[in-house]
């Protein structure tokens, strides 16, 4: 009797069905929406598109988003380096709790992330009152946006660096120490080069989130056009004013940034071997 090969692979009809389901789902949920952003943005032609992007409000929004990002990202890079060094190189009581606290902003709704700063600095609290009196309001002003964005983006760099540092181990740093290098020197010359890709990856994630944060910033900013509108907020304002083409024009800018972020992410993942190559 002839020995037939065992059925180890999914039958062809199943494969086709599953691939179709996947494609349909992703089309409806992701692909078509993505395409529609650009199609709607250019619905009234190139000139309209460029005009939408060069209004005073849009330019202010771009400036504000960039400003906030340029403040927030370096701070969180520093925090990321410091905290990941602490957590991966030392063991101490409360370490697990610390890790959970660092992850906390990720599990909190963006609305609540904005809310907590409003609660702290609104005019009815002593703290908020003091700041307002001294001409330095926090909420409904740029400092509040910075704080809320700091909160929301703080975990990204740390989370990338911790597993990386743990994987790299202490050997090289200990060798450097034995050769006489100071702590900072060791860090700059030995540790930093080893973690550069992870650091870059985390920075990209952090930047993307900082540029794109909506919920928290919306709560904290007060939506004062020209002053406290970031790009994502500006999109909402335009949409609510029924200026759809303009809204999608700005949205397309943000989407472009998102796509660039994804591409950079993928490039780094391939470079560091995170993704298996299709084979």
């Amino acid at each position: 009797m002839r020995k037939p090969p065992l059925l180890l692979k999914d039958p062809v009809w199943m494969k086709i069905l599953l691939i179709l389901i996947s494609f349909s789902f992703l089309s409806l949920i992701v692909i078509i929406p993505l395409l529609s952003i650009f199609l709607q943005a250019f619905a009234e032609g190139w000139q309209s598109y460029l005009r939408a992007l060069s209004t005073f409000e849009t330019i202010s929004a771009i400036k504000l988003s960039l400003l906030v990002t340029m403040i927030v990202v370096p701070i969180n890079i520093l925090f990321g380096l410091v905290a990941s060094w602490l957590i991966s190189k030392f063991s101490f009581p409360g370490r697990q709790l610390l890790i959970a606290s660092i992850d906390l902003p990720l599990s909190v709704s963006p609305v609540i992330a904005g809310l907590i700063f409003v609660l702290l600095f609104n005019s009815q609290t002593t703290l908020g009152h003091w700041f307002i009196e001294n001409g330095f309001p926090i909420i409904y002003a740029i400092p509040g946006i910075v704080l809320a964005t700091l909160f929301v983006t703080s975990p990204y760099v740390v989370r990338e660096l911790i597993p990386l540092l743990q994987q790299l181990g202490n050997d090289e740093e200990e060798a450097a120490h034995l050769l006489g290098a100071s702590g900072l020197r060791t860090f700059m010359r030995v540790t930093l080069p080893n973690i550069k890709w992870g650091l870059l990856y985390g920075t990209i994630l952090c930047t993307a989130r900082a540029l794109g944060e909506f919920g928290a910033v919306s709560v904290v900013s007060g939506n004062i056009q020209g002053l406290t509108n970031t790009l994502p907020l500006h999109v909402e304002v335009l949409y609510n004013e029924y200026k759809f083409t303009q809204a999608f024009a700005v949205a397309s800018l943000l989407t472009f940034i998102a796509v660039v972020t994804l591409t950079l992410k993928t490039v780094i993942e391939l470079k560091t071997g995170k993704i298996q190559r299709a084979g």
Binding site: M1, R2, K3, P4, P5, L6, L8
Partner: protein
Amino acid sequence: MAIRVIKVRKKFQNFLVLDDVSIDISSGEFMALLGPSGSGKTTLLRVIAGLEQLEEGEVLLEGEKQHVGFVFQHYALFRHMTVFENVAFGLKVRLHKLSRAEIRDRVLRLLRLVHLEGLESQYPSHLSGGQRQRVALARVLAIEPSVMLLDEPFGALDAKVRKELRQWLRKLHDAMNITTIFVTHDQEEAMEIADKIAVMNQGKIVQIGTPDEIWHHPANAFVYDFLGNYNEFIGRKTENGLIHLCEEDELPKPRPQPIVEKKRWFKKWWRRPTPSVIENIPQVSQKYVKLFVRPYEISLSKEKPLEESITAQIVHINPAGPLIKIELERANGQIVQAEVSKELLNELQARKGDLVWVTPKSYKIFE
């Protein structure tokens, strides 16, 4: 014939893994597929199991609806199931369903057979390697296969457990008389328990025979090499057809070419001989032949024996083991490995640094 493999060819990404392989296995036979890594032995086993597609050829199994049991090298136990559930799996998915009680009965009986009673509610991650292997065996025995295929079943275990388990497997086979084929790269294992050995190399079957046949009548130098350590000598045919070993000065001058040092892989603690001169001599010519001699076929003496022999200096004596292992060095640099009994060594009264005569008691020549 329980299993017939007919002219099987299998390619894997442009690489020919099995090249026109045919083999017949009798019912109840215990066969070993022996060979180095990459020889195709595991692929052949998987082809027999039906796990691989073939480019050419076919595999025939005797009788109707044969159950083939396959034991994987790393056991492939279902880690989310208990030992009991693992062993019962084959019984639960089959169409002819047994009752719960019957399944339970059979599983427990099998666990007793493999000496794992009491462990039925454990998960595989809590078991040792040897225990997991026995679960894999019980799982396969549960479906009462007519053929058992095992892929390097004891490879991942330590030496002692390995020896115990392989002997236990042989006893199991004898008791149940299931046709068994197992793959191994360990020639000692194959020689110890198999009825027949098929030696494979580079996708082809090089020789099939009983352990005795293979050991005493190896088909070619590859099989000889694979089965164990040996020495290589150049011999000269005399007028009456005898072969004498050649000393350095007898050998024809090597052609002026760079000396190629062949690398051999290391077996146990022996160093392989790397004779620099021999490589340049043609294997078989009118006058000169290559002799293959096992270490235990070497005899040593202080006086020159009747035939012409060669001299060598004792470089190292390793007294551990049933035979004394002696390493000698010839004037031309060749290392000779010999194994002699303790008594012989005492008679010889030889020590490190002594010069002795080396004579092969028997040898093999391959055309």
